[in-house]
């Protein structure tokens, strides 16, 4: 690097005054410039984030810089590993401060959230038992002015749940006995006093014959007639899809389709453009070269803007819903797919093109016979891969209002329905895994 040796003392003095100058004097321009700009910048950053004490260890790097200048002037090999590690460590400290990492927070109510989510993940709500609610009602009287003298006891129907009450009349606080029969055997349920304010007054367990006995202390004091109901929820065998799944599955499907249509729209635009973005097809004329530059520029711009940003813009433009998600995926996808397609075209063998051209074929025939067969398998692979990525992306853009399962998920979370949220997360994970695997297998096949 440094052809002529320089005076080490002078180099050291220069670097002591202005960091990096000694290195520049010794011919190490890159390192000299990095030190000259980098050290003051580091000090400024540490001052700016309010960690003035970090400037002291930064001074150690400055001291090293003096030694390094002398070393460079001698023309030796001067390792910079130590100061690089020191600066990295200092910046980690600054980063810790700036990002506001505050471990105790994890133990407050957030821990509850994490616990809820993990709990939900452990028992996702995919299916539930199909249940049949059995009820039987009986009437009793709180005696007093205006209360009926007697109540009619419902006739008992064999095989149907039946509830009888005794005594028929009970003042407040008096104990009432209930006898039930005809319920599903070995189930649990509850006793409820009907009325404007429904109160649960006891729990019941049916025996092997489907009968039970229970008592409660009458809480009603206003004279009149009252209904007491025995309610047993019997699992009648079989499982059914949970309500969460019935809500979330269509949203998941929406996400998959959203990704599909987004990919398809990207494909429609990226496919023709990609031929203009392939250098090997656009070397013919200055106009083609210009088109190449413009196309590649467009791809780069579209690709470098995150899908999420497009999604926020699209939601502002067309409102919350899957259409916004489609726009975001399609626009970003044009850039991503276009670049991959162009590179696939650029990597084809030139020989077949030459051979087809030599037969007197025109440009269209050259593309169809020599270019297309070479790129189609790669195009299919890239498109599948994009769809796969878009399903994952679509989930995220759903969070900002782009429709699909992501939108459902954020709603569950906003309503603190952690178990439902966890179910949606499982659903997403499952679909992504399946698509991942399927697209890998297909790409393998056509490769």
């Amino acid at each position: 690097m440094s052809p002529a040796r320089r005076n080490p003392t002078l180099a050291a003095v220069l670097s002591a005054i202005l960091p990096g100058f000694g290195q520049m004097y010794a011919g190490e321009w890159g390192r000299g410039f990095a030190l000259f700009v980098g050290l003051p910048a580091q000090a400024a950053v540490f001052y700016g984030v309010g960690l003035i004490w970090l400037i002291v260890p930064t001074g150690m790097v400055w001291a090293w810089n003096i030694w390094d200048a002398a070393c460079a002037a001698r023309g030796g090999k001067c390792p910079a590993t130590g100061p690089v590690i020191v600066l990295l460590a200092l910046n980690l400290v600054a980063a810790w401060k700036v990002t506001d990492i505050h471990a105790p927070e994890l133990q407050k109510e957030q821990r509850n959230v994490i616990g809820q989510i993990i709990g939900g993940l452990a028992r996702p709500d995919f299916v539930e038992r199909r249940v049949n609610e059995q009820t039987a009602t009986a009437k009793y009287i709180v005696p007093g002015p205006g209360a009926p003298e007697s109540v009619e006891q419902k006739p008992r129907v064999p095989g149907k749940p039946y509830l009888s009450v005794s005594p028929r009349k009970a003042a407040k606080g008096e104990r009432v006995s209930l006898t039930g029969s005809g319920f599903a055997p070995n189930q649990s349920g509850e006793l409820i006093l009907l009325g404007a304010d429904e109160i649960t007054v006891g729990e019941i367990e049916t025996d092997a014959a489907g009968a039970f006995k229970a008592t409660f202390d009458n809480p009603r004091y206003i004279p009149g007639d009252y209904f007491v109901q025995a309610r047993v929820e019997a699992a009648i065998g079989g499982w059914e899809l949970s309500e969460t799944l019935r809500d979330a599955a269509p949203r998941m499907l929406e996400t998959i389709y959203l990704a599909l249509i987004g990919t398809a729209l990207s494909l429609i635009f990226a496919l023709p453009l990609s031929f203009l973005g392939a250098r090997n097809l656009t070397s013919g004329s200055p106009l083609l070269k210009l088109l190449y530059g413009l196309t590649r520029g467009l791809f780069t711009i579209l690709r470098s803007v995150e899908v999420l940003i497009f999604a926020v813009i699209a939601v502002a433009a067309v409102g919350i819903g899957p259409f916004a998600g489609v726009i975001a995926l399609a626009v970003h996808g044009i850039g991503a797919l276009g670049k991959l397609y162009s590179e696939a075209i650029e990597s084809i063998e030139h020989g077949p093109i030459e051979a087809i051209r030599a037969t007197g074929a025109n440009q269209f025939q050259v593309v169809v016979y020599a270019v297309v067969p070479q790129v189609v398998p790669q195009f299919i692979a890239f498109t599948l891969y994009r769809w796969d990525i878009n399903v994952r992306m679509a989930t995220v853009i759903g969070l900002v209002g782009g429709g699909g399962i992501g939108y459902q998920l954020i709603q569950y979370m906003n309503l603190l329905q952690w178990r439902q949220a966890a179910t949606a997360i499982w659903l997403i994970a499952g679909v992504v895994m399946i698509m991942d695997y399927a697209s890998a297998v297909i790409r393998e096949r056509i490769g």
Binding site: E349, G351, P352, E354, A355, I356, R357, A358, T359, G360, A361, N362, F364, Q365, V368, Y369, A370, P373, Q374, V376, P377
Partner: protein, 252 residues
């Protein structure tokens, strides 16, 4: 039949691949072009059908000046000139049949050809040419499932589809083993002797040139250094073309 005047090609990086080459080839001749790798043999062939644009000089095929032709005219001339390549240049993923039919693209109407539609005559030709090169069973196979020698024979069938007057063969056997090389060159010889096609064939091996060519021309650093009968190349000539240290290698 083929007339070349002062053909020169200088690449943008300054490499002088061809320097003032003039040559006249009568119809029906089998001309072998020999020379070291990088002597300009491939450039020479590609300047004839303008896969590479010559820097200066003129080329005539019959009465038509190739070097003055516009794009449409050039395509019409290219139909009359078939080309065979060292690496066969088949479209690997396409079927053998499609590769053979593609030799007919210069004659086919654009739109049907883009939909892979060829007329019945072209299909019959393709079958006949595949039979001629001994691959009539292989039509539906993918081109890359064939061996090197078979692929080159597909290349020959593709060339035959053009019914060319001139064949440019760029190292057609350099990627093949000696036995296969002979079978490929025998096909070229047959096309020359039986069908009367003029052949320009780049060859590495002088022994092959001696065996097949009516006339040998030699290029060295882009210049024409020899033009004569295959028997006129003695040891002195040989060293002139290939350099002092070269020794002759026989290929059986």
């Amino acid at each position: 039949m083929l007339r070349i005047e002062h053909l020169t090609k200088t690449y943008p990086n300054g490499t002088r691949a061809l320097v003032d080459v003039s040559l006249e080839v009568p119809a029906g001749q089998f001309v072998s072009i020999i020379g070291l790798s990088g002597a300009g043999k491939s450039t020479f062939l590609r300047c004839i059908n303008r896969l590479i644009e010559p820097t200066s000089g003129r080329v005539w095929l019959g009465d038509e000046e190739i070097t003055a032709a516009g794009p449409a005219e050039l395509r019409l001339i290219r139909r009359r000139i078939a080309m065979i390549f060292q690496h066969f240049n088949l479209v690997r993923r396409s079927s053998v049949m499609t590769n053979v039919l593609s030799g007919r693209l210069g004659y086919a109407a654009t739109l049907p050809s883009l939909l892979h539609r060829f007329n019945a005559g072209d299909h019959a030709d393709a079958r006949a040419n595949l039979q001629r090169v001994g691959l009539s069973e292989k039509g539906q196979q993918r081109a890359d499932t064939l061996s090197g020698g078979q692929q080159q024979r597909v290349g020959i069938a593709r060339a035959l589809m053009q019914r060319p007057e001139l064949i440019l063969a760029d190292e057609p056997v350099a990627s093949l083993d000696p036995a296969t090389a002979h079978s490929v060159l025998d096909h070229l010889e047959q096309m020359n002797k039986r069908d009367g096609m003029t052949v320009l064939c780049n060859l590495h091996f002088l022994s092959l040139a001696r065996r097949y060519a009516d006339r040998v021309i030699a290029l060295k650093a882009g210049e024409l250094v020899f033009d004569g009968g295959p028997d006129e190349i003695d040891d002195a000539r040989f060293k002139e073309i290939y350099g002092e240290d070269a020794i002759q290698v026989e290929i059986a």
